[in-house]
Symmetry: T
Subunit: 144 residues, 12 copies
């Protein structure tokens, strides 16, 4: 199974800053744990601060992946364009948020992505990525 | 590990009605699958249509469980009282919604429970329960 | 034809209190008039102040009734859970309100039940129940 | 008993268009059924697409009718002027809506007429007119 | 000086109904008093319940009048079209409301006409018409 | 091809007033240009300040026209009734606005007509009518 | 007849500043015109920038005046306290605004005073004061 | 004097949890203090997590008590049904909130109960109950 | 114990006007009753209609009083400045409202003071002041 | 005449996905038709998913084009930055939307671009581009 | 150059209270630093808790000052009257806020003063006053 | 001291377009003036129209600069992602706006950046950059 993780703006700083919100493990380190855990999966990783590059990647990867794990960061609450990209692809997209966004500023309480995703996993820290891949495995087994 | 699943109003009808939204497997049947999957877990199940009985159960079970999986159904969007019960207990509570609530009527887009839960798992059908228990296992291993 | 009348919170006080709003005839007395009027109908009556018991009754009665007359009282404006119960049953549900709810506090101007009911009858005092049963008779004759 | 039915804009198209919403019986045809059913009633019918003509009719008819059945169509949600006409007459006015307006666009969820009417009957198709006349009969018998 | 009074919907009922709000003098009677008071003025009167006829009249009269006294009744709060008519004419228009509209339902608290009128006179009963003509006299003397 | 242009309130004043907004050519003059340009079309013109007459015309003309060009003027933002008329006809309706309504008062930023029209053409002055007829020609050629 | 004019904040600058809004005649000069015009009236004038002094004056003057003309300036839109003062006195209070407040910033479109005043006169420049005194003369004559 | 204290959801946990908000004394312990302080009073205590049971108790107790002290907890902000129960009884009801609800989440800033209660006492910790009983003593002495 | 009562705008009229809302006892008279009741207390009284003088008094008195009883009248709903004064002092401030503000105009339903006060006592008429002093006695005894 | 078409995010997928909304012809194919139709025009095409690249292109092209046809896709509803770019250029910009945006999610009902564009053409499918170029031709001929 | 600093309510407490927000230096002390720093300036200082006195000062000082530095404290968010005073003077007014008002309660996020000031300087503690005087120096040099 | 100026979308057009809003000096020219004025500072300049590049630059520069002057242009009002970048860095960020944003369209009245910046300087034209650097100098001297 091919899985593509797509991380949005400022998520390149994971493990370095605002550790009280996002924890102190970086994505690089966590990717190792993930790949160890899901040995039979091919897990690709992409991060960009640029909205349009995230759209490009979603369009592109949808043709070759079995599932996308998307954390669109700050764009989650404002980007109709990324939402449209998610809506336009046919492979399942699962939304992940590291922090409990419902506990933060009110503009973070809505996700433009959510209605177009297979499902949402929110608040479990980096382990949200693991649960998202798990969910894609289940979705996949249900459908095949 | 002791897990308590608590289901709110109308979830006793799972598998019987509105199958296009909730699927056609009943909770009884799915519980078997869950218990099979998590053999080393003790999984209790409780359902009530009465708001106050859900509060009673949350208060009670919090003393003996290692984690609660809560699907508060229609009360999710209106019950300050259940939210207060969740806030008052110290064992981790994970929120599950079977359908993608962000794709339905606008009054279903907010959850009063979410800010007081460990995390939320939304839109994966009955498999949301499995992911929730999985998440509690991870939370548990992180903390011990 | 089997008809189930379901009355929500505080409607046990009909005829006793706030008579300027609800009139001075009790439900017991009015039921007699109703049964007299609809001699060929079996009319059951249920009242509870507890939200979940109303849900239980709706679920239960839907299997054996030809129509439900629902006055969900104060829960009309707040209960997503009762709405979900109405949505989940297949027998026709007709909503009744004794007073003209559009003439009272603004929070009474919306009904969460209405979109899931066959129809709504509002403002005719206790005679609303009679019109509701009449409407169920017509619905029934149209469909058979 | 003299009853005046007043239908607002586009209701002249009943039975011809948007049949999935309004059914496929025209008003002419239904009037026959109504007059058959209420043999001891004199039932007048008026339809206009012009807001002010509806006001004229309400003012005029109120002096000679024992009750008005009003379906103000699209003006229901916008016309303070028709509302004022209803408020200014002393004969009882009963509001009818053919479709379940609470199930349609949100701007149809409020009725400017409702607070000034004796009562509202919503969602029963053309049979709403029959229930409305029935309700006027009951109101009349209560008062005399 | 030529003055045109234009009254909107339901104002033909002045002195007949809802006297606690609008007083018990009819417009006919009051017009006599007005014409007596303003002997050197020619005062025309027009009333219609039809929105478009009010627009027609405003357009028409603006070419021959020195001032318009407009009480657009229930259309005050909803009619962009009458507002546009007022905006399109160059003779001064003064808005009158008989009752204190700020003391009534909240939808009466705004006037679509006001920003396009010379001024507004509100709450003085029928005497508002007298003050309005007075104001037009002053405006006229200022400008000439 | 038969085209019906329908203009709403105050559009009879085109070319006479508020020229900074609507330009200084009257509709009569522009109709000549239009008919010259679309020689193979039969172009009818109708204007009324009365909401209900616009509804009458839409209903009527829909049976004999191949397309309607509708500029409902000030009713655009308030008339559910005209919207319902547009929704009830099956020939294509194209909405035109002479001025850029998004640049004016905020209550002009929404069109109740738009969701029920084939399309909207906004801000091109009187040339909007030409573009609208052009669009109907294209729609027609696509469908035949 | 004793009339008290009460002017609120910044109205001491009349005739000096923002002349495009408020005109170029000062209050002193206009008072002379007023007293000339209403020779049989005693007209007192009071201005303060301090909210509480306006309240003091309203309370005080209400015992000795036959009517108050109140222009509460910028406090019109914010002062519940002045409104309460107006509500507490029994002599008639007429509200005046020099400019057309409905044509300015949206926070100027509501008046907390209006519902507690006898009536409102808006947009006639300084002549609003003359119309207000005129209105008090009429009110007085009606009541005596 | 007979006083009934009615506590709503989660208030059975007083003194056990969220002590930084609710203090560390339990209701049992505080009741002793209260009964000591008001020796000449009979003080009954009732707590339930179930909305409908609170309604039952209010209806019931109103017939035998001289006053009700009501802390409806999380239902305060959502329950039209309890509000209706309070409105339906004639003995005085005083609302108590332990914490300063105006300092917490915004959905706690409004009380559906308040408009139907004799008065509200908010923010004094458990001593609010003492002040409420004190207030009922004063109310009682005023009325007798 | 030194207690300072601070009353805001229009409260100098207590017992004179709007007696149906505020009762018919003046503050002078009630102060005598209060001082009689709390013999061991020194009770100072201050009233002003001027917002800034209330701020001055709060700042000043906070240095020498053991508690402030504040009824900020109409400023309650609008004055950020008085709120800031309350927030800036360290002696306890208790808010009192004579009438049930939740039963009046909607702009009276929020108090800018409440979140910065020790507690709020609302709706008990002048007896609210007695309960407030009682509450300060309890607060004081708890803390010493 | 030089025309620049600028397409925003996800419009590279035209003809491939969500064909029920956007039709099944790709932009490449349609460009051929356009160039055929407007033989005397030079038509440039640019598409990017990146907001800032759209801004760059608008700034750049405005110096050499006679008109811009802009479909800013999902950025239409959120991008103040693109709006500012449109506002900053002097060559005419015409807004096109393929689908009827007023018929879709409510966040698509507003366009930040519209007030800064020459005009808007909405709902005609890909033919909107043809109408837009037509409109630019007319604008050009009017101005020269 | 003559500079007038005007401070609003509660700013007389600077350096004494709520030091975590406003710092621990008093205005007296900081004025010394300012005068030292701007030796060639005459810096006047005025503070009042009374809204109207601030208005008086702004009107007065505008005639003799080259610039006003205004911190209107809690009145910033509510006072239309002070805003009107600022709008009425022609010397430049610069707004200062000591704390970052955008980080505090939501009612502090808007300034009624800002649109009428030359500019705003927010969040730099007492150094905001220094930057404001600096800005007035620059403004002055630009204009001369 | 190292200072980084970061300018957002369309600010590359400074001095070329919309001069009535932004003035007629370009950034290049003004940078010379700035560097002249702050001779002991190293001032870097960066401009991009691409949201993500601004984020990249903020992250990058924060490691080597002593302060950032940020004018995020049109992204100020919409970009949660840039806000998150500002929140994630530890060097002080000062927000500058050239025009008085509170005097323009209402969507420009809020800044998502402001709560995460050291302070905001708004409305002083290009001199805002000079004041911002001045403020960073003061901040720096306070902290060292």
């Amino acid at each position: 199974m091919n899985i593509q993780i797509i991380n949005g703006p400022n998520l390149n700083l994971l493990g370095e800053r605002e550790k009280e919100i996002y924890g102190n493990i970086g994505m690089k380190e966590y990717l190792k744990i993930l790949r160890e855990h899901f040995k039979d999966f091919h897990i690709d990783y992409f991060q960009s601060n640029i909205e349009g590059e995230l759209i490009d990647k979603i369009q592109e990867t949808a043709k070759v992946s079995d599932g996308i794990v998307l954390n669109s960061g700050g764009y989650t609450h404002t980007s109709v364009a990324i939402r449209d990209a998610v809506a336009s692809v046919s492979c399942p997209v699962v939304e992940v948020h590291i922090s409990n966004i419902f506990n933060r500023e009110s503009f973070r309480h809505t996700s433009l992505m959510a209605p177009k995703c297979k499902g949402s996993i929110i608040g479990f820290g980096l382990d949200g990525y693991r649960l998202a891949i798990e969910s894609l495995r289940i979705v996949h087994s249900r459908e095949s």
